[in-house]
């Protein structure tokens, strides 16, 4: 009796777990169950938002990216293949969106700089308007953020994935659409590029 109850419990539990996998929800959503897609949204929106925020550095931009990513995911659910994790597939969409968004931001920034008739050098991070940010740690953080934002999107994406979001290399490779070795190489290059941008500031501080 007890055994059958345990077995029954196990069966129902595994059944529920089976039903609740991303793949199962995707399948349901594909068949028109919008609620299943909303479950996927609830489950992964924070992950996607975190990455988008790191890439855009602005909450409203990040939210736009996340929304667009989920809209695209929904519209392209039929293209999702079960071989990849749903989050990997989703983050790949977000990476592409963020790259596009970064290009647009760079153009926007260039225009703003032109209008201001002067270059906004990220190194001059001592001029922080908000007094709260005058704390040394925050100043360094802002400087680093600016250095990160100044990186090309492909460098920025790997830094965010590896060094901020701390994703594993195989996962990164799947998101970036490259090999694990390729992902490692990209990380090395991106770190070097970031170091070249941040070194003068940190060097000044030390001296």
């Amino acid at each position: 009796m007890v055994e059958s109850r345990v077995m029954g419990y196990d069966a129902s539990l595994s059944g529920r777990m089976e039903l609740d996998t991303d793949s199962a929800l995707v399948k349901k959503a594909r068949n028109g169950d919008y609620g299943a897609f909303e479950k996927l949204f609830d489950r992964h929106r924070t992950l996607v938002y975190r990455f988008a925020y790191q890439m855009t550095s602005r909450r409203d931009d990040a939210e736009d990216v996340v929304q667009e990513a989920f809209v695209r995911a929904y519209q392209n659910l039929h293209r999702y293949r079960d071989e990849a994790k749903f989050t990997t597939w989703l983050l790949r969409i977000v990476t592409n969106l963020c790259t596009d968004q970064a290009r647009m931001s760079q153009r926007r920034l260039a225009l703003e700089q032109q209008e201001a008739s002067g270059a906004l050098d990220w190194m001059t991070s001592g001029d922080i308007e908000d007094p709260v940010h005058n704390l040394e740690a925050d100043r360094r953080k802002i400087a680093l953020r600016r250095a990160l934002n100044a990186l090309p999107p492909h460098h920025k994406a790997v830094i965010v994935l590896r060094d901020i979001e701390e994703r594993e290399y195989p996962d990164m490779a799947a998101i970036l659409g490259c090999t694990v070795g390729g992902a490692k190489l990209r990380v090395l290059r991106a770190r070097r590029a970031l170091k070249e941008r941040i070194a003068p500031l940190l060097g000044e501080e030390r001296s």
């Binding site: 949204f41 996340v66 695209r72 519209q75 659910l77 170091k195």
Partner: protein, 254 residues
């Protein structure tokens, strides 16, 4: 400090090395002030990047997402417009062009096929009709065969004679396959009424069946029919050929 060493230092700072590798490299970096500075810089970078992990809280709602999806349509649609996927049309266009070329060529050749090459009755009467090495004939699906004896056939082979245009499936009759008696057969096939030149069907062994399917002419053909005689032209040395109106005029009673 070379680039490779710097890469190693970065890996060390970001924790990508094994403990033994890390220990060895730390000792190495201690001896080189520049390497030490680079290592410190990478470590600072790592700490700084980790401190960036905090993000402000989002203000998402399912309603907002639902509105956005509804705005673009609930049905899953291709993510990119067709114009951005022009590469997809390239193989399709190539196939279409290829098909068009083949079809056009086929149509042109169809026009050419109005002229059929047949063996003339004079040759059959006078013989030796099949003084050839191979009789190249068509394989054809035929029904309602009716046979008429035309004349004797010899098998002293020298040159091949092509009996038809190249669009039909051909069957190469070896001299030993050739029958001694030749018959003409009326048949109704897919291409209309047809005349077949072939052996006496009753005498032909089963393994020489292809010889029964030697198409000579299509009577439905509206174009001229060439009769190739065995005699050669005295001036040119080429095979003589005569144009006639239809196959019916040529073979029946030959």
């Amino acid at each position: 400090m070379n680039g490779k060493f710097e890469e190693k230092l970065a890996q060390l700072a970001f924790g990508d090395l094994t403990p033994s590798e890390a220990n060895r490299l730390e000792l190495e970096a201690d001896k080189d002030p520049e390497a030490r500075r680079a290592l410190m810089l990478y470590k600072d970078m790592r700490e700084g990047l980790r401190s960036l992990a905090d993000v402000p809280e989002d203000q998402f709602s399912k309603e907002r997402l639902r509105d956005a999806i509804l705005k673009q349509g609930l049905k899953p649609t291709p993510s990119r417009p067709l114009s951005n996927r022009s590469w997809l049309w390239m193989p399709v266009a190539a196939c279409a062009i290829g098909f068009g070329l083949v079809f056009t060529r086929h149509m042109i050749e169809q026009g050419r096929m109005q002229t059929e090459v047949v063996l003339g009755p004079e040759s059959l009467k006078t013989g030796p009709m099949f003084g050839v090495e191979k009789l190249i004939a068509f394989a054809s699906k035929s029904v309602n065969l009716h046979q008429e004896f035309i004349g004797p056939m010899l098998t002293a082979a020298r040159k091949p004679i092509v009996l038809a245009s190249r669009h039909r499936t051909r069957h190469h009759l070896e001299p030993h396959e050739l029958p001694h008696n030749l018959y003409v057969e009326n048949a109704t096939g897919e291409e209309g009424d047809m005349l077949f030149l072939g052996p006496d069907l009753t005498d032909v062994p089963a393994d020489t069946t292809p010889a029964r399917q030697a198409v000579v002419a299509t009577t439905a053909s509206t174009g001229p029919i060439l009769l190739i005689d065995q005699d050669k032209d005295a001036q040119t040395g080429a095979q003589k050929a005569t144009e006639v109106g239809s196959a019916t005029n040529v073979l029946i009673g030959g």
